[in-house]
């Protein structure tokens, strides 16, 4: 019997049910697995209907050709009594299909009844129904069916189907109960209750439609189980061995020693028919699975071809980089593929840099012309477009943006951690080591990248909840990264270091051997920050590190981070949607919209004199805690959809000051002509000259003179 894998998958946590309706049905039919399965299944159903009529012989009729191999007269050969095996298989199809579907319907109906009811009803009723299905689940079904079926007086197809149906509902009930339990907690079910819907309407119209895929998948699994059970029962002789189904054919073959006589044709056709029917049903189920959890879909999503025929291997953890050089430099493209060592490439960059404006020598990480796409060719969605950004030694650079601005894609792209179908479509990410020539992260081999990661740039992700491996102790996760980069270190040293790191972020030593689930959200994020500092990296990238935390904890962590940065001198790229937080916490801010950087300036500068209407609107979207209360409006409209980006400046449809060029041409990021002198003269907090002169904006209101960004 097949292990019902689809149901296993269904018990695992799944993304929210996908969009419904006709489109879903169309997509299902377009799924090649489901389509193949449905076609084969259709063939069997057709045979079940017309099989007995088109059979060339009466399946039970004895003939004179005893135990003959396949021939023109008997396509599948004959039995020891001269019966035509082809006719037997045809005649047997009906009973197999009927028993399968009747048992499937009975079992599915029972599992819906028990599963959905016990899932929706809380309290003792639900619990005891659930216990009942669990009991049925662990009792081995086949022996149970055998003792029940052999105790019954008549064992016709219908009885067998009922017995199978009555003994196989438990798995479906369990899956449906789990799903219903999770659906019951969904907001839309709560919202329907709050609207005043009645319980039965909620079950029928709010919960059931969302269970459709799970129910269908459960139904098919039961059909598979019922078909195999029926055949198995017939094979061991339970039931009426004189009615034909594929199992009875095998029963007679076995009991007449077909094997010993070399009569392979006697049992091969029936077995193949079973396997084919089972495969068809499994394929349909795969289709349903892929519909429900899109992650399983996409022929691997792992190798694809670009327009120019290059094979791109999509690997989790190593985002592919298309092309091999800067778009505007064909000569480099050739060299890039042959260059062997990192340092050689670094030298390349150093040479190519001479032709461009000098970069300040305090740069640690320099992003040039970075493009990041989802998908390839015409289907590609451009999430990050031509981004230039420089992170300087010891600074906090804030990257602000809303959903779809590309800020997280940028972070994942530059570290090459973007999962498929993400690809880096072009650009350079230069890392400037303390000594030596800069290296391009995008041109590193997997081995080089592994050595580089965490040692030079560490990352703290958004969900501290999910960033730690739930099955390993905190100490294990702190120590494995040290070991990976310094295999010669001793275990005791690593443990000491782990202890040190926890102390660094203010966590007591006795938490070293805790599991992540034993820590609060704030503590987990501290552990992640401590882990990020394990190898004393020069760059720490933080993607919404405090968004999931409460303000008080957020403040504690940010204060600690500021202290650590002052002590250890690393640079931070701080990504968040909360611009008000950045103004307070970072040295410089870059604002992203629609995949591009639209403004970049020192924090104080941006806060006082935002030039881009979007930055300005965003700053005025945060109600103030102090000062006079003002009427605020936010920004009309919604952030753009990456798949349908507006032409020209992506912000123009929402911009209150849009004018003629905005819809046509994309503005370039650069220093506005009018403001240069003013900025230079302008006051500069902290008294150094590094922040003041760097106010760049991409907006037609502020035509650009110097495009050195």
């Amino acid at each position: 019997m097949a292990v019902p894998t689809t149901e296993l998958a269904a018990t695992a946590p799944q993304p929210a049910p996908v969009s419904p309706g006709r489109r879903r049905r169309l997509r299902f039919a377009a799924n090649p697995k489901a389509a193949t399965g449905l076609v084969i299944l259709g063939g069997f159903v057709l045979l079940a209907i017309i099989g007995p009529w088109i059979a060339p012989h009466d399946p039970s009729l004895r003939g004179t050709d005893l135990l003959q191999p396949p021939s023109a007269a008997h396509w599948f050969g004959t039995t020891h009594l001269g019966q035509d095996i082809f006719s037997q298989v045809l005649a047997g199809t009906r009973s197999v299909v009927v028993v399968g579907f009747v048992a499937g319907i009975v079992s599915t109906a029972l599992s819906i009844l028990v599963g959905v009811t016990s899932g929706y009803l809380s309290g003792a009723g639900g619990e005891s129904l659930s216990a009942l299905s669990n009991v049925f689940l662990v009792i081995p079904a086949l022996p149970l069916i055998v003792i029940i079926a052999s105790a019954l007086p008549g064992t016709d197809n219908l009885t067998i189907a009922l017995v199978i149906g009555l003994t196989s509902w438990a798995w479906g009930a369990r899956v449906l109960r789990a799903q219903t339990l999770s659906l019951r907690r969904r907001d839309y079910v709560q919202a329907a209750r709050a609207t005043g819907e009645s319980t039965w309407r909620i079950i029928l119209f709010e919960i059931m439609p969302n269970l459709a895929a799970v129910i269908a998948s459960g139904f098919i699994s039961t059909v598979i189980f019922a078909v195999t059970s029926e055949i198995t029962l017939a094979f061991i002789g339970v039931g009426d061995t004189s009615t034909w189904n594929w199992g009875t054919i095998l029963f007679w073959a076995q009991s007449q020693q077909a094997l010993a006589q070399g009569a392979w044709w006697w049992f091969v056709p029936a077995g193949l028919a079973i396997a084919l029917l089972g495969t068809a049903l499994s394929l349909v189920n795969f289709g349903i699975d892929e519909l429900v959890s899109p992650r399983l879909r996409g022929n691997g999503g792992t190798t694809a071809r670009t327009e120019d025929g290059h094979r791109v291997r999509m690997r989790v953890g190593f985002t592919p980089v298309l092309g091999s050089g800067r778009k505007d430099d064909p000569a480099r493209r050739q060299r890039g593929s042959t260059a062997a060592s990192v340092s050689e490439r670094g030298a390349d960059h150093a040479r190519s840099r001479a032709s461009r404006p000098a970069v300040r020598d305090d740069a640690v990480l320099e992003i040039r012309g970075l493009d990041v796409d989802y998908g390839l060719g015409d289907a590609a969605v451009h999430a990050v477009r031509d981004v230039h950004l420089t992170l300087r030694r010891g600074e906090v650079l804030g990257l602000a943006g809303e959903s779809g601005s590309g800020k997280s894609t940028l972070a994942y792209g530059l570290t090459r951690l973007l999962p498929p179908p993400g690809v880096v479509a072009g650009g350079e990410v230069l890392y400037h080591p303390e000594r030596g020539e800069p290296v391009d992260v995008l041109r590193m081999s997997p081995a080089q990248l592994r050595r580089f990661r965490w040692a030079e740039t560490a990352i703290v992700f958004q969900g501290a909840m999910n960033s730690l491996n739930p099955v390993h102790k905190v100490s294990t996760q702190l120590m494995d990264v040290i070991k990976a980069h310094d295999p010669t270190s001793s275990r005791a040293d690593r443990r000491d270091r782990a202890r040190e790191l926890l102390a660094l972020v203010g966590i007591a030593e006795d938490r070293l051997d805790s599991y992540p689930h034993q820590l609060s959200g704030g503590m987990r994020q501290r552990v992640m920050i401590g882990m990020a500092l394990a190898l004393q990296p020069r760059v720490v990238i933080m993607d919404e590190p405090t968004t999931a935390l409460d303000v008080v904890i957020q403040r504690q962590i940010l204060r600690q981070l500021t202290e650590l940065r002052e002590r250890l001198g690393f640079s931070v790229l701080f990504i968040t949607h909360d611009l008000s937080l950045l103004v307070e916490f970072s040295d410089r801010i870059a604002v992203m919209y629609g995949g591009r950087i639209v403004e970049q300036a020192a924090s104080a500068d941006l806060y006082r004199r935002a030039l881009h209407p979007y930055s300005d609107g965003l700053l005025h979207s945060f109600p103030a805690l102090r000062g006079p209360r003002r009427e605020l409006t936010g920004i009309p409209g919604s952030p753009p959809d990456l798949r349908a980006m507006p032409t020209g400046c992506a912000f123009h449809p929402r911009c209150p000051r849009a004018f003629e060029p905005c819809a046509q041409r994309v503005p370039v990021l650069g220093m506005p002509r009018a403001r240069q002198g003013e900025d230079r003269a302008g006051d500069d907090r902290a008294g150094n000259d590094r922040a003041g002169g760097d106010h760049a904006v991409a907006c037609w209101l502020h035509p650009v003179q110097d495009t050195r960004f």
Binding site: Y188, Q190, A191, T195, E206, E402, V552, L632, G634, S638
Partner: protein, 350 residues
């Protein structure tokens, strides 16, 4: 700015919904040693919370995650039954057990959820959601045309125009802000007196939050709604709400009109909350970090600390705070401003 900076001493608007001593304990499974003791452990999500919602006014309920603020909303919506305490609608005690009575109550008190991605059923269209809301509360009219008019009216109210562009869309075809507007329209479908908004904008993009808040304020003024605005963002409470109530670990620690609570916070926890909120005017480096109260985390609600629940984190904690729970004490700097803190006890009885 219409919403009352320093409201005149005009008679306060009529109280629509009032909660008195609202308490909700969720039973939790006993484990290990707790199995042996007689008392069944419970999670004390909400303990003795009182608040009032007035016609045409917004009351904000501010707190961190786990403070019990969302549970208060669900108690007021009668999605949960309270363990103790009472809820009165226009002075009448509410009992919404049973289908018909619950439906009658929900006609007058509607709830808006935090996450518009989750609060609309992905298999149904906007039309279905709104039609159900109208039909349940008997406002769908007699004819098909009445229904169409009512639907168009609802969408227009939440400024999703032209209505026909949105009626037959599925939730996933709408942006976050549009979805939340549909959710608001569904709540309005019952023509309620009270709107309970549980973090209605926290899942939305920053640039569109104010649009939704301004819409709610506009509706409040036109329909004279009483709104409970639940949020973790005290700055938005100052912007949007007339009165603000602050919760910590299941209890109310401070309340009063929003301007007073945010500008002159009395309770040490409210002060901590305000100091922790991002403030662009306090630029990097300017943060002196004077208050070292920002340590520790909220307590377990299964075994909350005795006395004042904030005392383990409080910089001003006294011996008394560890044993006796403080009652709400009037502050006296503005009418209605109170804090549950022993620091203000002397002020009352010298």
């Amino acid at each position: 700015m219409s919403a009352g900076s320093a409201r005149p001493a005009a008679p306060a608007p009529e109280v629509v919904l009032a909660a008195d001593g609202l308490t909700k304990h969720f039973p939790v499974r006993a484990r290990g040693r707790a199995l042996l003791s007689r008392t069944r452990p419970s999670l004390r999500a909400v303990d003795d919370v009182s608040l009032t919602l007035r016609r045409g006014q917004v009351t904000a309920l501010v707190g961190e995650s786990g403070s019990g603020k969302s549970t208060v909303a669900r108690l007021l919506a009668q999605l949960h039954q309270q363990t103790a305490g009472s809820i009165r609608l226009h002075g009448e005690p509410v009992s919404a057990r049973g289908g018909r009575r619950f439906r009658a109550y929900s006609r007058r008190v509607q709830l808006i959820f935090q996450d518009p991605f989750a609060s609309l059923n992905p298999v149904h269209t906007v039309r279905y959601h709104l039609t159900r809301a109208l039909k349940i509360h008997g406002r769908a009219g007699e004819s098909r045309k009445d229904l169409e008019d009512a639907l168009a009216d609802l969408l227009t109210r939440v400024r999703l125009t032209p209505p026909e562009r949105y009626l037959d869309k599925f939730p996933h075809e709408l942006s976050g802000g549009q979805r939340q507007r549909v959710a608001i329209a569904r709540a309005l479908g019952a023509d309620p007196e009270v709107l309970l908004a549980d973090e209605p904008v926290s899942m939305l993009d920053v640039s569109i939050r104010l649009g939704v808040l301004n819409l709610l304020r506009d509706l409040k003024e036109r329909l004279h709604l009483a709104i409970l605005y639940i949020t973790h963002d005290i700055a938005s409470a100052r912007y949007f709400a007339d009165d603000t109530v602050v919760m910590y670990a299941g209890q109310v620690v401070e309340g009063g009109d929003s301007e007073t609570v945010t500008q002159r916070p009395a309770h040490p926890y409210t002060q901590l909350l305000i100091d922790s909120a991002p403030d662009p005017d306090r630029l990097a480096g300017a943060d002196s970090g004077t208050r070292e109260a920002g340590t520790g985390e909220p307590p377990s609600l299964i075994t909350p600390p005795p006395g004042c629940r904030f005392h383990p984190r409080c910089p001003h904690a006294m011996a008394r705070c560890r044993t006796e729970a403080p009652p709400p004490l009037a502050i006296g700097d503005s009418p209605g401003h109170f804090a549950a803190c022993w620091l203000y006890d002397e002020a009352r009885q010298p």
